[in-house]
């Protein structure tokens, strides 16, 4: 007996379903823009505003930098929302932002104090994510803090745009898919400084390192040792000092009789101001050792630190991510905008934070969503220009920005209170670039993107 096979699908039904599917696939992006709704943490949905979290040190050893970071973020929000003169939005290339917020939403922000402590920074970021509903956390002026907050943002499922963090580990062994760093790193400082130190001080130096005892200090010290030993220098001693030690005299007195003729201060912020001031008070710069003038090197400089240390920085070499005196259109636009707003030029911390805020906003605009996984796709491998550092690339393999590095020196005859550093060399990107699996950066894994749901 034959059996009649029937189907619940009629010919008419198949045609209807096919038409609907075809229409959906071929629909323009604006129909699907909200298709990501409720598929990621802190989706602003149809709200009129989107909130960013600015997590900066307002107290502690790096409070100077934190204050400047916050000013820069507030300026960035103004520019993104179409207020003020637009700053770097006039020079950034390519750019999708139009000065009307992000994806039609006005940008608002919440702030937090990292206190330059990892636990306080994580607590502050957690509050921003859980209570304030931020889509992105940014800021910080310590690599210990950056690594801790980056890890938290990865676990929570929001984007972290690092502020001032210079440890190799941030985009090395502790890198995360949801985290991005625009600032340069300790390896790059060493690679840029090595040839300049060789040119100015020769190949026969004996260096003594005083190093901040946390992730940044360790990688900065390792990078400087590799770089200086590569040009023939010897390493007399490496001494770790606690962050925020204040009085460094007990660490400086052993330098006097160590046989070293060079002191490398792997310190930053308030610590660098104190250690450099005290090293000068102890007469190190007036000494002659091994027939050479004793010299001091500060691998990571900032204009704020140099101002705090006053005359003590004169003639001392270091490296920096950016400097307000750069003549390119992007830098000038930012300095003009920042100076008009606050009455003084921005620091490198302010610059990197301003750029990070704009880069995130622009990536969201291009992605058509605030969903982290889509924003990440826009930032990975992204090439841009007009932001003060020349052509720059967010390398997809480790989320580290690659660009030129500045070697600077404390200015002998400053013309103003801000004119304390002079750029002695712009080190090209090729000289400071390294492979993603370089030994100083090995061991980490970006892992998958996390949307928090």
């Amino acid at each position: 007996m034959s059996k009649i096979i029937t189907s619940k699908w009629s010919r008419r039904g198949v045609l209807k379903a096919g038409a609907v599917t075809g229409a959906a696939i071929s629909a323009p992006m604006f129909f699907t823009r909200n298709a990501f709704a409720a598929e990621f943490l802190n989706d602003p949905g149809s709200a009129a505003n989107v909130t960013f979290g600015f997590n900066v040190p307002q107290t502690g050893a790096y409070a100077d930098e934190g204050g400047d970071e916050l000013r820069a973020y507030q300026l960035a929000v103004k520019h993104i929302n179409g207020e003020g003169d637009g700053g770097m939005m006039n020079t950034m290339k390519p750019i999708s932002l139009s000065g009307s917020g992000v994806l039609g939403k006005k940008v608002t922000y919440v702030t937090g104090d990292t206190q330059t402590k990892s636990d306080a920074a994580r607590a502050s970021a957690k509050r921003m994510i859980e209570k304030d509903g931020v889509t992105m956390v940014t800021g910080g002026s310590s690599s210990g803090v950056a690594i801790a907050v980056q890890s938290l943002c990865q676990e929570a499922g929001v984007i972290f745009m690092a502020g001032l963090t210079h440890s190799n580990d941030t985009t090395g062994k502790d890198k995360r898919r949801n985290g991005f760093r625009h600032f340069f790193n300790a390896y790059m400082s060493g690679a840029a400084l090595g040839p300049v130190l060789e040119k100015n001080y020769g190949n026969e130096r004996n260096a003594y390192h005083l190093t901040a005892d946390y992730t940044w200090g360790w990688t900065q010290e390792a990078s400087m040792i590799a770089s200086t030993e590569n040009i023939g220098w010897k390493t007399a001693a490496t001494v770790k000092t606690p962050v925020g030690a204040g009085d460094f005299s007990q660490f400086i007195t052993p330098v006097l009789n160590s046989g070293a003729d060079t002191l490398i201060l792997n310190h930053y912020g308030k610590d660098m101001i104190n250690s450099l001031t005290q090293a000068v008070q102890f007469g190190l710069r007036d000494k002659q050792v091994n027939g050479k003038d004793f010299t001091i090197v500060v691998p990571l400089y900032s204009r704020l630190m140099a101002q705090g240390a006053g005359d003590n920085v004169k003639g001392i070499f270091g490296s920096t991510n950016w400097h307000w005196s750069l003549p390119d259109a992007g830098s000038q636009a930012f300095v003009k905008s920042f100076g008009a707003e606050y009455g003084f030029p921005p620091s490198q911390a302010a610059h990197t934070c301003y750029v990070q805020a704009l880069l995130y906003a622009d990536a969201c605009e291009r992605a058509g969503t605030f969903m982290p996984s889509e924003v990440i796709k826009q930032l990975e491998g992204y090439k841009f220009d007009g932001m003060g550092n020349g052509p720059t690339e967010y390398r997809a393999e480790d989320h580290q920005c690659f660009k030129d590095v500045l070697v600077v020196k404390g200015k002998e005859n400053p013309s103003s209170q801000f004119d304390v550093l002079e750029v002695v060399e712009v080190t090209p990107r090729a000289q400071v670039e390294y492979k993603p699996d370089h030994e100083m950066f090995a061991g980490g894994d970006l892992g998958p993107a996390n949307n928090g749901v």
Partner: protein, 338 residues
């Protein structure tokens, strides 16, 4: 040998600071029986006397800075320099010594106000309650300073003439590598002078004799018709002055911020505990002892044997003292031993 000599100098200069801070603290405990956790705040207030004096001396006229072309920038020229030229610059340069003179009456008033306004209400309370209220007071004071001066350290340089270093090695016929900052040497001499002045005041004056008698047996002194409480109030003010001038003098070595009092509070308590609660001689001896130990522990030869010892040495000594001799090195029998 040179390295050891340098560490001795460093230890003495650190010890001078520790002894000065601990002296006022132990003086207040010995007389009033109050565990004053706001003592670090008094040290910090002294430092901010120096900041305030510097700010007042450098009140400036804003002048357009023509060297900045990107935006409208201004530079500040102090009125003292505009009015008096070189003389004005010299006065500004001597802000720290001037601030010492200012800090003495200011800190005395603050000390008296603190004792009359708050501390005296807690004389008969437990030490735990005294600690809570004085710690709370310290937090209030530091938040007031933070609100007015900001969170960042404020540099207060030493006078130019003593901002360099002294070639001690050459003076003593030793290696010319032995140099030491002038201001640290001055601080050491200053601390010895203040300590000597406090001891002379307590040992050589009638007021001091009464205070010492009151420290031994306050009831007996009261029965003799002496208002010992009034004298102890003045002693509290004296403790505040010692802490304040110590703070003001410390500013060229460490730019002050609102939190510096808390940093030194812990150190000064360790010094007092090691020296013996209420023992003036103990505070001085323990201050120098711990300063020297900390300095030697920072030598690379020591740290290579025991890594991290420089960070824990003074706390390690405190733990040993509390275990072996709870009343401290020079403490009176029975104190902290019941």
């Amino acid at each position: 040998m040179d390295a050891i000599f340098l560490q001795v100098l460093n230890g003495l200069d650190k010890g001078g600071a520790y002894a000065l801070i601990a002296l006022g603290l132990t003086l207040v405990f010995g007389t009033l029986g109050v565990v004053n956790f706001a003592h670090g705040a008094l040290f910090m207030l002294g430092a901010f006397c120096a900041v305030s004096v510097q700010s007042i001396l450098t009140i400036s006229q804003k002048v357009r800075d023509e060297s900045i072309t990107f935006f409208e920038a201004y530079k500040e020229i102090p009125y003292l320099e505009i009015w008096w030229g070189e003389t004005g610059s010299i006065i500004i340069d001597y802000a720290v010594p001037i601030s010492i003179v200012v800090a003495i009456p200011v800190m005395l008033l603050i000390g008296l106000a603190m004792e009359r306004g708050l501390i005296r209400h807690f004389y008969k309370r437990t030490h735990a309650e005294q600690i809570l209220v004085t710690f709370g007071l310290a937090i209030v004071v530091q938040e007031i300073i933070k609100a007015n001066f900001g969170a960042n350290p404020i540099p207060v340089p030493a006078p130019d003439i003593v901002s360099g270093s002294a070639n001690i090695g050459t003076w003593l016929g030793m290696s010319d590598t032995i140099v030491y900052p002038w201001w640290r040497l001055i601080y050491f001499v200053f601390s010895l002078t203040v300590i000597a002045a406090v001891f002379a005041f307590l040992q050589l004056t009638t007021f001091g004799m009464v205070v010492r008698a009151g420290m031994r047996n306050r009831e007996m002194v009261g029965l003799l018709g002496i208002d010992i409480q009034r004298k102890f109030t003045i002693v509290f003010g004296l403790g505040a002055v010692v802490a304040g001038v110590a703070g003001a003098m410390y500013t060229p070595m460490l730019p002050p911020d609102y939190h510096m009092g808390m940093d030194f509070l812990v150190l000064s308590f360790v010094v007092v505990v090691v020296g013996g609660m209420g023992s003036l001689g103990g505070a001085v001896a323990a201050g120098f002892l711990l300063g020297l130990l900390q300095s030697f522990a920072a030598m690379n030869e020591i740290k290579s044997l025991i890594p991290g010892i420089d960070q824990i040495i003074i706390y390690l000594v405190a733990v040993i003292i509390i275990l072996v001799r709870p009343r401290g090195l020079f403490g009176r029998e029975g104190v902290m031993e019941d």
